[in-house]
């Protein structure tokens, strides 16, 4: 804490400004905070936040080295964890059958993976979640915002407009039926434009851009603290070509999964990934299985597989820590996935 500013691992220009402004110890920097810092030495708030993060990490690692004790850890009982988990929010999907098998909806702080053949409705569900996460609290929603990372270019905004319009109308009907003041007030700010403006869209054209974007996510979520959903549509596409070295791919995917788990937890957000299907050739027949291999199967907490049975779309809950495996039918309509 008493570390000299000049010895901190910051960019030299920044260090010079700090020293010139009269800061001497790391503690002084931490006490000033990002706003004060950006004003004092004339840098952007983003740069100030970055610098303070570096300082904090440096002080933390110093502390653990000198004290010889493990870093600060929160201890709690299993009961506390259970209560915390039950209080976690869910993002409802408007398909009650799907919400039921998921135990309430898509869960915050967890990674949910949606696998399926092309055209079965994975992107549709993601777009719907990006709208549903924004439903005001008085209508049973989370009043959150969404990050949508698109690797395939399948995010067609016209479709999102259909879903958002239908969602607003649905809430308007509820408000008309109940005539409560907080409903009407919420509807004042819950409109097509506001929904679209709170979906933050990133297009990543290969796996490097995706890795870079995920490195930047924690800071983005800190700045946009209302984000409750991060979608990556799809996780398989950038990783399924261009990889001579499969062990590199496995390592990168594992690293990505770890980062996403931390992000989901730290920012109380649901992370939703879509995955492709691939053919596994067995002894007597071939089956469709989720892509990216066996070890990737451990990344997601919850795994949903969308598939066809004749002309009916089905969703199977394949993996979940708390719900049992089950299958339900669903449809895709103009306004939603039902």
């Amino acid at each position: 804490m008493q570390r000299d500013v000049g010895s901190l691992p910051l960019a030299p220009a920044l260090r010079a400004r700090l020293v010139a402004a009269g800061f001497q110890t790391a503690q002084e920097l931490l006490d000033t905070g990002p706003c004060g810092l950006s004003k004092e030495i004339g840098i952007s708030k983003e740069e100030a936040l970055e610098a303070l993060q570096v300082v904090r990490q440096e002080c933390h690692s110093d502390a653990t080295q000198t004290a010889g004790a493990p870093g600060t850890s929160r201890k709690c009982t299993a009961l506390e964890l259970l209560e915390q988990e039950q209080a976690q929010g869910f993002i409802i999907t408007f398909c009650s059958a799907l919400d039921n098998i998921l135990g309430g909806g898509v869960q915050l702080t967890k990674i949910t993976e949606i696998c399926g053949e092309p055209g079965v409705g994975k992107t549709q569900l993601c777009m719907q979640l990006a709208v549903d996460v924004q439903i005001p609290e008085c209508f049973g929603g989370l009043a959150g915002e969404a990050v949508f990372i698109d690797t395939e270019g399948s995010f067609m905004v016209d479709r999102v407009v259909d879903v958002a319009t239908a969602c607003v109308q649905h809430c308007q009907l509820i408000a008309e039926a109940h005539q409560e003041e907080d409903h009407l007030k919420a509807l004042e700010t819950f409109s097509l434009e506001s929904i679209l403006s709170h979906i933050y869209y990133f297009r990543c054209r290969d796996y490097i851009e995706l890795l870079a974007q995920v490195y930047l996510l924690p800071d983005f979520l800190s700045e946009h603290s209302k984000v409750r959903l991060v979608v990556i549509d799809g996780i398989a596409f950038p990783f399924r070509h261009d990889f001579e070295d499969l062990s590199l791919r496995t390592r990168l995917l594992n690293g990505l999964a770890q980062q996403l788990i931390i992000i989901a937890n730290d920012h109380k957000a649901a992370v939703v990934l879509t995955n492709q299907m691939t053919t596994r050739i067995g002894q007597s027949q071939s089956t469709l299985v989720p892509a990216l291999g066996e070890s990737w199967g451990h990344a997601a907490t919850v795994r949903l597989i969308f598939h066809w049975d004749n002309n009916q779309r089905l969703a199977t809950l394949y993996k979940s820590p708390s719900q049992k495996e089950s299958t339900i039918p669903y449809h895709i309509t103009v306004s939603a996935l039902l």
């Binding site: 691992p9 979906i199 990133f202 261009d242 050739i281 598939h307």
Partner: protein
């Protein structure tokens, strides 16, 4: 301008970087040089533990390095969905599509073919796939106002010879097909000059074609449509059952390369595919072929299907009084164009015919009765 931004970013990824340019601690820069790390891609490919070891830096330094290069790479990369929706500029808007030259067909597709992504057109032989593709090669040359992209087309033939006679017929009849466009504008377009025909009958020639030859045309802005006729023919002879892994790899590589071209140049890629008998119930179900009930599905399996943005299928609606061997442009035989999947479209279909002047959708309210009357 769009192209400049994109090529800068791709240079950023793979080329040797001058680390001094980055806002990094000098000891980090020195460590990068000492560890002989040259590109952003190298850094992101290594794990944090490896980076710490190679560069002998602390975790905080590595974190800062990763964030700094990620930030440089992804500067200005965020858009809100509202910005996407409100962008109506023809060079960047999602609303901009490539028209098919017929309002009925365009309505089915809510405007036309999306500009970024691979669209597949699958169907039995002589269902009309080549007809539609030729028509697109002409449509792309019209001004933006009339649903075109003011540029030419690359047509890659993988099996048959390019149908030049039919193309000439279509060019001569454009004024009849495109009654929505003033004649002076049609007359000014030199349709034949802007269609670039490539032949690629095997995988290596095809690979060379899409990685070298057509990127030149696209970079110069001379073409803004790529047609592959057909993708299935490339894989027909060369692969047995035991080569399925190699086949899958080729499909994924081609898919990724075409996708990358499409993204870089905002250029639609139209791949024609053949059909095979549906192997499983689910394949047949997905194609919703109940209208024809012939249980066919597009070739090349799920590996290829995973590369597509949109899948369309065409088929002939069987007519009992249809005689075989009648030349295409004399029959009024009715065909179906079906949307099998697309992120922005429901499963739907419409009917169309192939006339002398080209492919025309049938507006069910008006033309169906007269069309069947003429058969």
């Amino acid at each position: 301008m769009q192209n400049d931004v994109e090529s800068f970013e791709s240079k950023l990824l793979y080329q040797e970087m001058d680390w001094d340019q980055f806002d990094l601690n000098p000891k980090v820069i020195a460590a990068l040089k000492k560890a002989d790390i040259k590109s952003v891609k190298e850094i992101l490919n290594l794990s944090e533990a490896d980076l710490q070891r190679l560069m002998k830096l602390s975790s905080a330094d590595i974190q800062y390095l990763l964030k700094t290069i990620s930030r440089t790479l992804r500067k200005n990369s965020m858009l809100t969905a509202l910005q996407l929706y409100q962008d109506k500029h023809h060079l960047t808007s999602q609303h901009q599509k490539l028209s098919l030259g017929c309002s009925v067909l365009d309505n089915l597709l809510k405007g036309g073919i999306p500009l970024v992504g691979i669209t597949e057109l699958a169907g039995e032989s002589s269902a009309g796939k080549t007809q539609i593709s030729l028509q697109l090669c002409l449509c792309v040359q019209y001004p933006y106002k009339y649903g075109g992209l003011e540029s030419g087309a690359v047509y890659i033939c993988t099996e048959d010879v390019f149908p030049s006679k039919r193309l000439q017929q279509l060019i001569d009849q454009q004024h009849k097909l495109r009654a929505d466009v003033p004649t002076e504008i049609i007359q000014k377009i030199k349709f034949g000059n802007s269609i670039f025909i490539e032949h690629a009958a095997d995988l290596d020639t095809f690979h060379n074609c899409i990685t070298k030859r057509i990127s030149l045309l696209l970079t110069r802005g001379m073409a803004r449509l790529v047609v592959v006729d057909s993708i299935a023919a490339l894989f027909r002879c060369e692969f047995g059952v035991s080569d399925s892994v190699t086949k899958a790899r080729y499909l994924q590589t081609f898919g990724a390369q075409l996708h990358s071209l499409s993204t870089r140049f905002r250029t639609p890629i139209m791949c024609i595919n053949q059909v095979t008998d549906a192997v499983s119930e689910s394949e047949a179900a997905q194609c919703n072929c109940s209208a024809v009930d012939s249980r066919v599905s597009p070739a090349l399996g799920i590996t290829w299907a995973n590369q597509l943005l949109m899948r369309l299928m065409v088929s002939r609606v069987s007519q009992p009084e249809q005689s075989s061997g009648v030349a295409l442009h004399h029959t009024g035989s009715v065909r179906t164009l079906r949307v099998v999947f697309a992120p922005h479209l429901p499963s739907s279909f419409c009917y169309y015919t192939v006339k002398l002047e080209g492919v025309k959708g049938i507006n069910p309210l008006h033309d169906m009765a007269s069309c069947f009357k003429n058969l």
